[in-house]
């Protein structure tokens, strides 16, 4: 079990406004989950909880058998570095570092040795040509940046990859390339994938499609 959520309850400062109330939810190893829901359904909050940035108000989240609430902030940072890859909608890279060094930085946080070779290998398999490897990230196109972000998220061979609306800034051609490259890599690395989007047209490629509104029982969804 990569992710296991039990009786998760979360609200921000105001207890009258619960954001998430998930009795039970889990993701198996190498499973590909498409999670959709309208804006304000608590998608971002759930991702921050799974990544260990937020802690649940009550309930339990287990990542790879480790209960997040029992870990210190530093331990959660380590867990995220080693076992979870994250890709956002955009701005995934440190703008002043080149592609290879962006990936190496992620490897450094995870303590992965000799990441340079794997970084180049990933970049090549994601269609980033050699001459772009040492361009500062800010000079790459959006589509290229998103592909470098997948390479960065996968450099430490994480068990879980969380992807949040990664294609919404891309055009149709780039979007399709991105999805097929992503699924290809996930397949190859046997990584569990949680793909968050409101674009249901992408759902066909996934083994499991979940509606967050159905999972989430909270009343005061924002």
């Amino acid at each position: 079990m990569v992710v296991s959520v039990k009786n998760l309850y979360f609200h921000y400062d105001n207890p009258q406004l619960p954001i998430l109330n998930i009795p039970h939810w889990s993701v198996q190893a190498a499973e590909r989950v498409f999670l959709y829901g309208p804006s304000g359904s608590g998608k971002s909050t759930l991702l921050n909880l799974l990544a260990g940035i937020f802690l649940p108000t009550s309930g339990k989240i287990e990542i790879l058998g480790q209960t997040l609430t029992t870990l210190s902030g530093g331990q959660r940072d380590k867990l995220r570095a080693r076992h979870i890859g994250v890709v956002f909608q955009q701005f995934n890279l440190i703008p002043y570092l080149d592609a290879v060094n962006n990936i190496k930085l992620a490897a450094r946080f995870a303590g992965t040795e000799n990441a340079g070779g794997r970084a180049r290998e990933l970049l090549n398999s994601l269609g980033i040509e050699e001459q772009l490897h040492h361009q500062p990230a800010a000079r790459l196109s959006l589509g290229q940046q998103q592909r470098v972000a997948i390479a960065r998220a996968l450099v430490n061979r994480p068990e879980l990859l969380i992807v949040d609306e990664p294609t919404s800034a891309l055009d149709r051609y780039n979007r399709d390339t991105f999805i097929s490259l992503l699924l290809d890599q996930v397949e190859r690395n046997q990584t569990a994938l949680i793909f968050v989007s409101h674009d249901l047209s992408l759902a066909a490629s996934f083994s499991r499609v979940e509606d967050l509104l159905a999972i989430n029982q909270a009343e005061g969804k924002t």
Partner: protein, 415 residues
């Protein structure tokens, strides 16, 4: 990796980083330069006189006596009689004594009448004696030995003739033009007021005043100079006496004896003690200078903090990325601190190199114009202490943007 990250981060914000860097460079430069000049000034000040135990003059203030006898600054209030000088020179504790007479000048440089003992016994710096760069000490009544700067500035060579002026102004109307002097020797540079002095014999001073009364020339005879040789040129009074003792132990005893001499009101001072008093008077200025430097530095470091603080606002995305790949808030604090220290260290090094270059290039100018001899001991323990303090202050002030980054990171959501 970490340093490269910090460096790349700074390079990506070249404009504001460069300005902050320059501000700190300038302030560190000012701090080190003031420190260097202060240090050297104090040294050359303390090096002016050494190896003499007492200075005796007419009764006046301690510092005034020191200033006019050693630094040739200001004027003697009164003279001391030749008899009193003879009396104390004959004291069994006195090893040697140098009488000096001041009051005349040559083109703004002071003329000092003295004896051969001056060249034998006078010491400056670390017990260094006066050395001749050319010629020999005076032997004739109308011989003069020039300080190095006098010879250099006025272009005199051994054998040149010059005319002394009565009084101390640089453009005196009463010249001793009836009795010209011949340059007998030129001293090597000392970095002390000796460089700015013309040395003549006591008899020479007496001789040029033959035929003068109360500072006014009475007769103007062509043979004035020749006539001088026939006269008794023992001075009636002198300005001050420098005394070396056989044993330091008798210093206070003799000082007391001179200060309570019933026949004439006299003052004896210990030059070392009075130098210290004089330097303490200047220490207010010294501290003020240091305070100003410290405040300039503080201002520039606050500028650094402000620059980094502003940058953190625009780095919110970067912080989110760092967090998403497992960077801890402490990592971000350390990154910001490293950036601050990189700028400060770079600026401090640049300032040090600039100062070294400045000293190397302007050393001659400073020595010429201000008699300030800067040696190359740039990194004194004091300067190293200052540099360490600068780094310490940078770390402390860097905590302001550092903790802002930390707090941002802690609350930064992904996405």
């Amino acid at each position: 990796m970490f340093l490269r990250l910090a460096l790349s981060s700074l390079l990506s914000r070249k404009g504001s980083v460069l300005l902050t860097f320059l501000a700190i460079t300038v302030s560190v430069f000012v701090l080190l330069a003031v420190e260097q000049i202060r240090h050297q000034a104090k040294d050359s000040f303390g090096n002016t006189v050494s190896g003499l135990d007492l200075i005796v003059g007419a009764r006046t203030g301690d510092i005034n006596l020191l200033l006019y006898s050693v630094f040739r600054l200001g004027n003697a209030t009164n003279n001391i009689s030749w008899q009193s000088y003879q009396h104390f020179a004959a004291n069994p504790n006195v090893a040697w004594s140098i009488p000096i007479v001041l009051g005349d000048s040559h083109k703004g440089y002071r003329v000092m009448g003295t004896t051969h003992d001056y060249f034998t016994h006078f010491r400056f710096g670390q017990d260094k004696s006066l050395l001749l760069a050319a010629g020999s000490p005076f032997s004739d009544i109308f011989d003069v030995v020039l300080g190095n700067e006098v010879a250099r500035a006025l272009g005199y060579q051994v054998g040149d003739k010059l005319v002394l002026a009565h009084g101390l102004g640089s453009t005196s109307f009463s010249q001793h033009d009836d009795k010209p002097f011949r340059v007998a020797g030129i001293l090597k540079s000392t970095g002390t007021p000796v460089d700015k002095t013309l040395h003549v014999s006591l008899k020479g001073i007496e001789a040029i005043h033959v035929g003068w009364q109360n500072g006014v020339k009475l007769s103007r005879s062509r043979d004035a100079a020749k006539g001088a040789y026939q006269q008794d040129l023992t001075p009636e009074s002198i300005t001050a006496v420098m005394i070396g003792l056989k044993s330091r132990l008798s210093t206070f005893q003799l000082q007391r004896e001179i200060n309570t001499y019933p026949d004439e009101p006299l003052l004896a001072i210990l030059p070392g003690v009075t130098l210290t008093q004089l330097w303490q008077m200047m220490s207010v200025m010294e501290h003020t200078l240091r305070l100003i430097c410290a405040l300039i530095l503080l201002a520039s470091l606050l500028g650094l903090a402000a620059m980094l603080l502003a940058s953190i606002r625009e780095r919110q995305r970067e912080i989110a990325v760092m967090r998403s790949i497992g960077g801890s808030p402490w990592f971000l604090l350390a990154l910001v601190e490293t950036e601050a220290v990189l700028i400060a260290v770079g600026a401090a090094l640049t300032a040090t190199i600039l100062l070294a270059l400045t000293i190397a290039l302007s050393g001659d100018f400073l020595a010429d114009r201000f008699s300030l001899f800067l040696d190359s001991s740039l990194l004194t323990s004091q300067s190293v202490f200052y540099l360490a303090t600068i780094i310490g202050c940078t770390l402390a002030i860097g905590l302001i943007p550092g903790f802002t980054a930390y707090r941002r990171a802690l609350h930064q959501q992904l996405t």
